[in-house]
Point group: C2
Chain length 217, copies 2
């Protein structure tokens, strides 16, 4: 019982700071996106492709969340984009307090589109509101087509799903149609994109949708 | 501070039950293996391949851990193997208490090799001792070659690593050599296997090693 109490306290504290972040982003006219996925689904690769297409059209900023290493932040920094790296030292998710603190290091930058790349974990990050405008869940074709049923929370809470690595489908016992149907069973409102970073597929449509969302702010 | 206290209590309780499980397995001459990986790395597919090769040589039992669904237990049941399904209802890892309770449902079965398929999560399950003899971490080639550096705990605690989906290497910007080197930086004692379930690669070597381990009991 004490575990539940403590967890509730953590979430209450988190939600209060998430509200602070949300107001802060709104005041600064920033559209914030929380990217969720398993390790190795291609979050950073998709970010790189989005940055290539959009960096001359919109001011992008990135907060990278990792358990260890600053590999991802170094990949993003090469594009001349403002980036803050959070190293959680073992913790399995980002929370709103970490985002508040990381964002404060970017407060002098002109940002209108902020990506928050969460820790690679399809379970725990789904529980924590960071103050973002939308959540996007990324699932790679190589993970199989049953993941939305087995890890429903991330798919329930997401506004959009990116099916990445679609170029590998010919070599897999996995179906994009079954994956889509399973995701829509969990969340009928999910907007779905299909991408491949190595073959440059679908990033343009994803970017159009992102620009539409920013323009609606 | 209170969070740490509670976590310590949870881990102390867990470790006491893990010791109970370990003694229980030892008395019954059961070799228990805790399988850790990200979602979709191929834990269940590797289990199916091992069962095909070993089921006439050794009495296998399986405990399946999933957040939702009994898809994995149903896959294993087709082989006529005793299986218990744990559905965690959102919880991100298995613990020793869940294993004690799940194993009690298998106590009338002849088992000498017990596989525990943990929840798909490369982070949280690494912290919880289940009373197993060894931990095996599975990483798929499609997850990239930097995962041991970014998620070190699972690789530090594992006795062996299986690099799965090696048949997809020609289509990836990912190197098995770099992946191995990164894993050995984290844990120089890691025994490493390379497998593909779709192309039936490396399962024989893995099974030989498992039999060696059981025979040493």
């Amino acid at each position: 019982m004490s575990i539940i109490t403590i967890e509730r306290k953590i979430l209450e504290k988190n939600d209060a700071v998430a509200e602070f972040n949300r107001k802060n982003f709104k005041e600064k006219k920033i559209f914030a996106i929380n990217l969720l996925s398993s390790p190795g689904s291609g979050k950073t690769s998709i970010l790189e492709k989005i940055i290539e297409l959009l960096k001359d059209k919109v001011n992008i900023g990135v907060i990278e969340g990792d358990i260890q290493t600053k590999i991802d932040a170094e990949r993003i920094e090469k594009y001349g984009i403002p980036v803050a790296q959070i190293i959680t030292n073992g913790a399995c998710h980002l929370d709103a307090i970490l985002i508040r603190d990381a964002f404060s290091t970017l407060s002098d930058k002109q940002i209108s589109l902020l990506f928050i790349e969460n820790v690679g974990n399809l379970v725990c990050p789904a529980t924590f509101d960071l103050g973002e405008n939308i959540k996007i869940v990324i699932v790679s074709t190589t993970e199989g087509d049953d993941k939305p049923l087995k890890y429903p929370a991330a798919f329930q809470k997401a506004n959009a799903m990116i099916i990445n690595k679609v170029d590998l489908i010919p070599y897999l016992n996995s179906s994009i149609e079954i994956l889509k149907n399973n995701a829509l069973k969990i969340n009928p409102n999910l907007k779905i994109f299909e991408t491949s970073c190595t073959k440059n597929i679908g990033i343009d449509k994803l970017c159009e949708w992102l620009l539409d969302n920013i323009n609606k702010l």
